[in-house]
């Protein structure tokens, strides 16, 4: 059974249908790339999966549970971590604390109360900081980081929470070509032992890392399969890549 399974998902907001009876699934240990033109419903799909909005109709199953309509924190505890399009973190906390707060642990108020950071946890934090190459800035407040570093920190926070599924919503926006290269490498490294669903615009990057892609168009799945297969698909070329445009 697939790790994430979306069935008949429909979302309407004030008359507009954003997701239209969408069926979609992600297998365990997959690195799936979600493509689609602006307004295709990629970010909406992610918002639905993570419980930010409730779908108008349809079901979302994750790891054997029906998570439709759960609150964001409950869905997180079920094992889905989300990276936002715009880097989203705790601005005044240090880089170290940002990762520390994100560590997988019991989230209940009272269990958390007087717990310190154990040696094992500390080691894990440093491991993650090394992984995202921010160990040198561990004590800096997050708002002093550069844009690319913030994207990386947020990915480090996701890894810290040890999720079953990582949703990465355009993690390379606003990066330099070099930054994008390094981020692609990082995502591939993450994907070695995580299931990743990646929303990405940059075809160059997608070519580099994609194994299987899904193309959304007007709230529905237009095509799905290996990248080359999908890219050579005629309809996809028309709606997404632009008719006759060389790629």
């Amino acid at each position: 059974m697939a790790l994430l399974e979306v069935k008949g998902l429909t979302t309407r907001v004030s008359g507009y249908t954003i997701l239209d009876n969408l069926d979609f699934s992600v297998e365990e240990n997959e690195l799936r790339v979600l493509l689609g033109p602006n307004g295709a419903g990629k970010t909406t799909l992610i918002a639905m999966i993570t419980g930010q909005f409730r779908p108008t109709a349809g079901k979302i199953h994750f790891a054997g549970q029906d998570i439709t309509g759960w609150s964001p924190d409950a869905i997180f505890l079920a094992g889905i971590s989300r990276k936002f399009q715009v880097p989203n973190m705790y601005e005044t906390l240090s880089v170290y604390d940002n990762v520390m707060v994100s560590l997988q642990s019991d989230r209940k108020v009272f269990k958390y109360m007087f717990k310190g950071v154990t040696a094992a946890e500390d080691e894990r934090i440093w491991e993650i900081l090394d992984f995202v190459e921010l160990a040198g800035k561990a004590s800096d407040p997050a708002d002093t980081l550069a844009h690319g570093e913030r994207q990386w920190l947020e990915m480090g926070m996701l890894i810290a929470s040890n999720p079953k599924l990582l949703l990465l919503d355009e993690p390379t926006t606003g990066m330099t070509p070099d930054g994008k290269q390094r981020t692609a490498a990082l995502i591939q490294k993450i994907a070695r032992n995580h299931t990743v669903l990646l929303v990405e615009h940059d075809m160059h990057l997608v070519r580099q890392i994609a194994r299987k892609v899904t193309v959304l168009h007007q709230g529905q799945v237009l095509a799905e399969g290996a990248l080359d297969e999908v890219v050579s698909n005629k309809t996809v070329r028309e709606v997404y890549l632009g008719k006759g445009k060389r790629h």
């Binding site: 924190d73 989203n88 005044t92 940002n98 707060v101 989230r107 007087f114 929470s161």
Partner: protein, 369 residues
Amino acid sequence: MLLLGAAVVAVIGGFPVVAGTDSYILLLLGKFLCYAIFALSIDLIWGFTGILSLGQAVYFGIGAYFVALSLKINYALDHPTRYGNKFPDFMEWNGLKALPHFMEPLVSTPFAVACALIVPTALAFIFGVITFKRHIYGVYCAVITLAESLILQEFIIEYQAYTGGFNGITDYSNYLGIPFLWFMLAVTIAFFLIARVLTHSRIGTVLKSIRDNDLRAQFMGYNVANYRIFVFCVSAFMSAAAGAMYAAWVGIISYLDTGPVFSVEGVIWTAVGGRATLIGPFLGAFLVKGLEFLLSGVLAAFWQLLVGLLFIFVVLVMPDGIVGSIAHWLRRHRKGTLTQLREEQDLLAHDREHDWQPAGVPRSGEESV
């Protein structure tokens, strides 16, 4: 830091032993301790968690009223009113014939103290469940808490037969004296330590992360509402304890002690001292209240003007408060000297290589002009 804290405690605790107990300063000292706890309770929710409540005096006031009522009822038992009744005089003035039945349990002071602590905490819990569960905070929370404290004030004025109304509750035996001062000091230290543990443990980091970005915290699996409710209850408990001690210490309590003006005053003490620091609220409360005591005699009208300017000054010029600004300055200074040192060392190394004198230092034998 520890030494400084011990010194402050020793000064406050030792003061009445040296200066005697009938001094006006002693009264102020105890008052200030209550104010400081009140400011600390505001700092916990505002500075550390980002909830601005303009109605924290509600909890302070309810705590104070329970204790004052109990003390007053007990006082009346030994000091009959003009017509020989053994119940509080303000009730008699308002036409009551006897102590109302629902107030009878308050004869027991321990019971009243328990109420003074539990009722406000429970109220804060209910309020928190209603508002935070639906993600009502920020400006909405500020406005609702403001209205809440205004209504409590009007309630007290309207039901003056039970609350003393405009005049408040006065003339009861209070606990002004050295032992109670030490007790308050002990409570203050305890609350300070609790706040310290709370803010420096992991839950503190979680609270700060909620303050910085509640959306991210929620998508990281934290039930943000529960954390807010928890810290709101802790804060209400501290306020209530401060109010209860205040009533017992000062011996007079009025509707003003539950009002929005007092609430906002607490916020500004915290802001002046430095929010999201633990020393800030103490410093702010002692400083602003101390200044008020020093200046309001001479410049009654201008003191309020000064308070108004203080609000604007703190927000525009010193948003981190005194403690925060000092910490910033220290950090920058330390960093500054470090980089300076490193630069100087580099320069020296460079100089040694080329056998030059450091820049800015005149060579020997040369006149510096």
